[in-house]
């Protein structure tokens, strides 16, 4: 899979190095003054600024309805797949504004996993994993087989399905289906993987498996995860973004935010005083 996009990190502009915790990490994606909304509604994102560090897990937390999904869906422009949805501002990736790129090319570099597992119902396990390749014209069996195995291993699903790769993807358990969806997203070799509450439909054991694999795969790529579960954010992420009513309230190292939040509203949310 080749993309025309240069995925090298863009040089760190002086003004964004303010956060000294992050000085050493390169920036994979930089969101500036992002405003977004839906047809006929009030703006949902009211000028969000944040940076996503390369090869880290960044968690986006905040009360339901604050715009977490809207934000993460802007990052690979799935947001605009909703009729009438608008997005304005800058999402710099590899030095270019993602909002001005071809969304199809962008999405190959920025993959996504959704809240509910959504394997393709007509496809087998292997076909599901390979779908991003086959649908884009890769038909070499050896390449596909290799990509399927590699992706399933990265998604910690290989051992469970290696003997039934031709069985329907929808026949797996919910947790397995979600890992299948992660494998499918990884097969395209994205530089960034977005996950929107990927465990909200799963039991604690399935959730634990996904958390483990996220910690594994961040060695190779950048992970952004929306979660309503603060323990999950604490377990998997290095950085946390706290959102409230369409605004980014606080952003920083997870361990710092959970121990000594800067903003009063963050503190209130984390200590469970609202949300």
């Amino acid at each position: 899979m080749t993309t025309t996009m240069d995925m090298r990190p863009m040089p760190l502009p002086a003004e964004t190095t303010a956060s000294k915790d992050a000085a050493e990490a390169k920036i994979a994606m930089s969101v500036r003054n992002l405003k977004a909304g839906y047809a006929g509604g009030a703006p949902v994102l009211k000028g969000v600024n944040l940076e996503i560090r390369e090869k880290t897990v960044t968690a986006i937390i905040g009360p339901s309805g604050c715009g977490k999904s809207t934000l993460i869906r802007c990052l690979n422009r799935m947001h605009e797949a909703i009729p009438g949805a608008t997005a304005d501002g800058e999402i710099l990736i590899g030095g270019r504004n993602a909002l001005e790129l071809d969304p199809v090319v962008l999405r190959r570099a920025v993959g996504m996993v959704f809240q509910r597992p959504n394997p393709f119902p007509t496809m087998s396990i292997a076909q599901n994993v390979a779908a991003g390749l086959t649908l884009n014209g890769v038909h070499d069996r050896a390449i596909l087989a290799e990509a399927v195995e590699k992706s399933l291993r990265r998604a910690a699903l290989w051992d469970e399905v290696k003997d039934k790769l031709d069985a329907p993807g929808v026949g797996l358990s919910g947790g397995q289906q979600q890992r299948l969806c992660i494998a499918r997203a990884l097969a395209v070799e994205p530089a960034i993987l977005l996950l929107d509450e990927p465990c909200s439909a799963l039991d604690p054991i399935a959730t634990g498996r996904i958390e483990e694999l996220l910690i594994q795969i961040k060695e190779q790529l950048t992970v952004v995860i929306v979660t309503h579960n603060m323990q999950q954010a604490a377990r998997v992420s290095e950085y946390t973004v706290f959102m409230l009513m369409g605004e980014m309230v606080e952003y920083g190292l997870t361990r710092k935010m959970f121990t000594q939040p800067v903003d009063k509203r963050t503190e209130d949310y984390i200590t469970g005083r609202f949300g």
Partner: protein
């Protein structure tokens, strides 16, 4: 509270139940009666000779309907080849891109087309093909049947495409697959079973159409002779034989009707068994 009132309500309830049950019995009984009657009348003239031979010259006894069977297969087959792709793709358009005025017009036109008497569609095919070519033909009959199929297939396709959950579309889009490929290679196959079933039912439906073939396919007592000549079809042969003065032809009409009926039933049952959701499909 009031015993009498309660008893009356109970009686009324029983009465209404009986009434609906009787009507339901009439509705399903009609099908059984038709099937039974045709089987009874048709079976006596049915034989391998009847299926495999051409009609005898007028006045001679015996002969078969081989040309009508082949003709129906050809005309209905060609109608499917023309009508199913057009109907499916138009349905894709409506389901995937159909929001504007044009889509509204297409949807409305399809619904009106569904109600147009089939003989009018036959007249249209006559004007469109038979008249300019100065010849009745298998082709013109197939075009008439295709026109009848298109709105049925179109609306059915649209409905089944709309049943595909939006999350499937999102999953494919998020993989960096262009929209048109998502539509044709992910959404369409996901709805494929329902769409195919609809196409089969539409085929079965037009296989029994007579009126649109009267002045298009026209009928023929001889062996099939290409796409551009008049051709015999089962419903049209039944019609011709039934209104003829010959006792032998009447019997053959019953037997031909039995064949047609069996074919339509077979396709219907196949389609409906197929439609039954299998593992995982989300209909």
């Amino acid at each position: 509270m009031n015993e009498a009132l309660y008893a009356r309500r109970k009686r009324l309830n029983a009465l209404m139940f009986a009434l609906t049950a009787v009507c339901a019995a009439v509705a399903s009984g009609t099908l059984l009666a038709i099937l039974g009657y045709i089987a009874w009348k048709g079976a006596s003239s049915l034989s391998w000779d009847f299926l495999l031979h051409l009609p005898k010259p007028v006045g001679e006894k015996g002969g078969g309907i081989a040309n009508s069977i082949v003709g129906s297969a050809k005309v209905v087959g060609l109608a499917g080849v023309m009508g199913v792709p057009v109907g499916v793709l138009a349905g894709v358009y409506l389901a995937e891109y159909g929001r504007g005025k044009f889509a509204f017009a297409v949807r409305y036109a399809a619904d009106v087309m569904n109600g147009v008497p089939s003989i009018v569609v036959g007249l249209f095919a006559y004007a469109l093909i038979v008249h300019p070519m100065k010849k009745f033909s298998a082709l013109s009959g197939a075009v008439a049947l295709a026109f009848i199929m298109i709105p049925i297939v179109l609306r059915n396709t649209e409905e089944f495409l709309r049943l595909v959950p939006g999350t499937i579309r999102e999953a494919a889009l998020a993989l960096g697959v262009p929209r048109w490929k998502v539509t044709l290679m992910v959404i369409l196959p996901t709805a494929g079973r329902g769409i195919l079933t609809g196409a089969l039912l539409a085929l079965a439906r037009v296989a029994g159409e007579t009126a649109p073939l009267i002045f298009t396919a026209f009928g023929n007592r001889f062996a099939d002779n290409g796409w551009l000549n008049p051709i015999a079809t089962l419903p049209h042969t039944i019609y011709t034989y039934a209104i003829s003065p010959y006792e032998d032809w009447h019997n053959q009409a019953w037997a031909a009707a039995l064949i047609l009926m069996a074919f339509v039933l077979l396709v219907n049952v196949t389609a409906r068994v197929w439609l039954r959701p299998s593992s995982g499909t989300s209909h």
